[in-house]
Structure formats: C-alpha cells, structure tokens
Amino acid sequence: METTMTESREMSAAGIKMDETQGLTFPRIDCRNIDVFYGDKQAIFDISLPVPDRSVTALIGPSGCGKSTFLRCLNRMNDTIESCKVTGEIIMDGENINDPGMDPVLLRSRVGMVFQKPNPFPKSIYDNIAYGPRIHGLAASREDLDAMVEKSLRRAGLWDEVKDRLTSPANSLSGGQQQRLCIARAIAVRPEVILMDEPCSALDPVATARIEELIDELRKRYCIVIVTHSMQQAARVSQRTAFFHLGELVEMGETDQIFTNPRERRTEDYITGRFG
C-alpha cells in the first residue's frame, strides 16, 4: 500500500502497521504568533493556531478577515506577493517553514493547495496528475507513473469517470470534475497537508456534495485546512472550526461547539447572521 510521508514516518517511528482508517490526531502544523503585513498594512494579528492531523480544520469569517491570507502562509504562497511579509513560526515536523533555508517548492509538495476556481494545466487529464510526480522524481518507471495517476484519480473519486479518456484535455471536464482533478493533482505528490481555498464556491450543489464526500474520505489520511464562506459547509465537513475577524483569530474549537454554543459574542453574531 502506498503511504504518505507522514504515515511512513509515523509507522517507522512507532514500529507498527497502521490501519488506514485509524484516526490518530496530533498537531500537524503549529502556528505561533503569526503576523502578516501587506506593505505598512497589517492583515493578520498575532495568530496562534495548532492544526491537528487527520482531520479537517475550517477557517470561517467575513470577507477581508484574513482567513485566505492565513491559509496561504501555510505553504508560503504569500512569498509570491512582493509587499507581503510574514513573521512568527509555523512548525511542521519540527521545522519552521518560514526558515530561509526551507525550499518553498519542496514545501508545496508537502502542503498541497486547491483553489477557488479549478485551475487544471492546459494538458491532458493524465499529464495534469503526472506533472508533480515527474518533476519531483517520484516515479521510477512509466508503470509506476501510471499507477500513481490511477491511485490519485481513484482517491479523488474521479477514476471511473475519466479512465477511458485520460488523454483528453483536462479543460473538457465539467467544473466539478476539474476541481476533483486538481485535488487528484495535489495528492499525486503525496502531500501531508491539503489546503483548500473555497474549493466549492464555483460549483453547483451536486458537484459540491461530491467534493465534500471526497474531503470526508481524504481526512482519514491527510491534514486538511479549508477556507469557506459557507457556514453550513464548515459545519458539515470540518471537525474543528476557527473564526477570524479583522485579522484576528476570535475563537477556535470543536466544530460542534462553535455551531451550537460559541463562546465569543462575535462568533455568535457572525454564524447566526447578525453581523452588522
């Protein structure tokens, strides 16, 4: 059975054969005192947030609250914005990912990302998935690569729909299929963490349900962080929810608790639709 890097490490450390559905959870990413600035303007204020493994953490909050900015810190996507400065520590596997010695390309293979709009490469379905394993040298042979493509597409719940047209252009797929293709592309390089930035906002309810079903399946193996504007979606797919407002982390807790009995007034007002 193919395993993620996380699992391999855990299994060798513990000397055990791990059952795929074993729901062991521990902080996969530990964010400490994160500040983010765009030029002189501070967008994130001193956020500390442990992100547990093998579960879904949802980030919610009104537009401009900093949740996407925060998400982008987790694989250093903010490096691509010149005026953006991130301070604080983001510890993953004992290393601070903000350390200048950290290779952002390698980091992004460990921390995959799925965006609001599906963004497949203008290539075939096969090549979209094979691209990552190829550039990271993960496949020893063509058979290996074929197996990886199939496994990724199966995990993304797309295999049966595309197995007979792997050479077709990826943009011939429907929006929902394209998004699942992007998820398959992200998991092809065996990441430990998957970041999702409003992955369903451009999809219809049926495609959304398929993605949510997929997220539920993926959380058995990965640490998932999802930004969503739909509180119902956060309630449905996540185990932990963090509420952001004006660049601050107002409250974080079990999803059940956040949506039935939030501790903070601002959280209550937001999730009940009272925010002025």
Binding site: A235, G273, R274
Partner: protein, 230 residues
C-alpha cells in the same frame, strides 16, 4: 441579542416564542380551571377545560410546522439553533400538560356526592404551586433567564412533597369511609396528574436553561423526594 441581517428570520423566531407563550398561558389557566372545577364541583367549567385542549393541540401542530419550515429555510446556528430545538421540546411538554389538565377535568365529571369539600380542597390547594411553577418557567422562557429556570427546576421537590402529603390525606379519607374509595381513586389520579405537570415544568426549565446557556441541567443532579407510589 441584536437582530438578524435578514429581519424575517428575527420575526419568525419571535413569532415562535410568542405562540409558545400564548399556548403556555392557555395551559396554565386549564390547570387552575380544572382544579377549580374539582373544588366547586362545576361540571360546566370542567367541560370547557376539556374543549380548550383542542385549541392547545392546534397550536402545537402549528408551532411544529413553523419549526420544520424554519429549519429547512434558515438553517439556524448557535443560540438560534438552541432556541428552535428548545421550542420544539417545550411545545411538546405544554401539550402534555394540556392533556393532563384535560384528564383532571374529565375525572371531575365522574366525582359523586360522597366527595366532601375537604377532599376537593386538597386538589385545589395543590393546583396553585403547580401552576406557579408553570408561570415561572414561562417567564424564564420569555426572558431567556437561566437562573429563573434553574429555580423552577429545583422547586419541583416542593411539588413532590405536596403530592406525597395529598396521597396520604386521600388514603386517610378512604380508610375512614370506604364509600369515598371510588372518588378517592379518581382524586389520586388527579393528584398524580398535577405531580406529572410539575415534572413537565421541570423539563421545560431544562430546555430554557439549555437555550440560554448551551449547557445541560442533568435530572440526576436534581434533589428528589421519594414517591409513595409508582
């Protein structure tokens, strides 16, 4: 709490609470009137109480319909979710109180001339603290006051003690004069119904407390008086 951005949502929650309070008011007078009918042997009032139960059932059905619609359309969260859940539970408790009051009223019509004024007074005396419990818990529901709800919850012990003493009193009457046994049996059921109404008030108090705080009051933590019968 401030209003929702969608004002119709606030209106719907307000209407739900108003309907429940209206239903509570009807049920409260049913308890008092049923027991006054016992006291005065007033069959007309008893019949009127029986008739009012239909109105209570209609309000219950209407409130349930509103709740189903509200959940489907608004997907309430946090305090709103607790308010809707609590409304669904409270409406069921009030309906049961209505049934129990109706049952007292029905039995009133079967009491014979062997029932003396002092026997009738026993039931009447118990009605007052029971209806007060309901009144207090409805006030707590209206204002979302958790400590008032808890006071009602703790106050059920008094109702249980009242029931136990009434039970002994009725037994004494029946032992003294076996001709009162038929009526006495009816009155024991009436007393039991009042005691059960007290329990329903306690349940309502638990839902009001949950709605206000998000925390559960556990029945196992409540002081209890041992019952004399099953």
């Amino acid at each position: 709490m401030s209003d929702h951005i969608v004002s119709a949502f606030t209106d719907e929650l307000d209407k739900l609470a108003a309907d429940i309070l209206r239903m509570g008011g009807i049920v409260e007078t049913m308890i008092l009137d049923a027991c006054a009918a016992v006291n005065k042997n007033d069959v007309d009032v008893a019949r009127d109480v029986v008739a009012r139960d239909e109105q209570v059932d209609k309000i219950e059905a209407d409130v349930e319909r509103q709740i189903v619609s509200l959940i489907a359309r608004r997907q309430p969260m946090a305090h709103d979710l607790r308010a809707v859940f609590s409304a669904l539970k409270v409406v069921g408790e009030l309906e049961r109180i209505g049934d129990l009051s109706k049952n007292i009223a029905k039995r009133t019509q079967r009491l014979d001339e062997n029932v003396g004024a002092s026997m009738r007074k026993g039931i009447y005396r118990m009605a007052s603290p029971v209806s007060r419990q309901l009144n207090m818990v409805l006030d707590a529901y209206a204002t979302g006051n958790a400590s008032e709800a808890k006071a009602v919850w703790e106050g059920d012990e008094d109702i249980d003690q009242h029931y136990n003493s009434l039970f002994r009193e009725m037994l004494t009457y029946m032992i003294e004069d076996p001709r009162t046994i038929g009526a006495g049996a009816h009155m024991l059921f009436m007393a039991k119904n009042l005691e059960r109404i007290g329990d329903h008030c306690t349940n309502i108090a638990e839902f009001v407390y949950f709605q206000a705080t998000g925390e559960y009051l556990l029945s196992t933590d409540r002081p209890k008086t041992p019952h004399l019968d099953g």
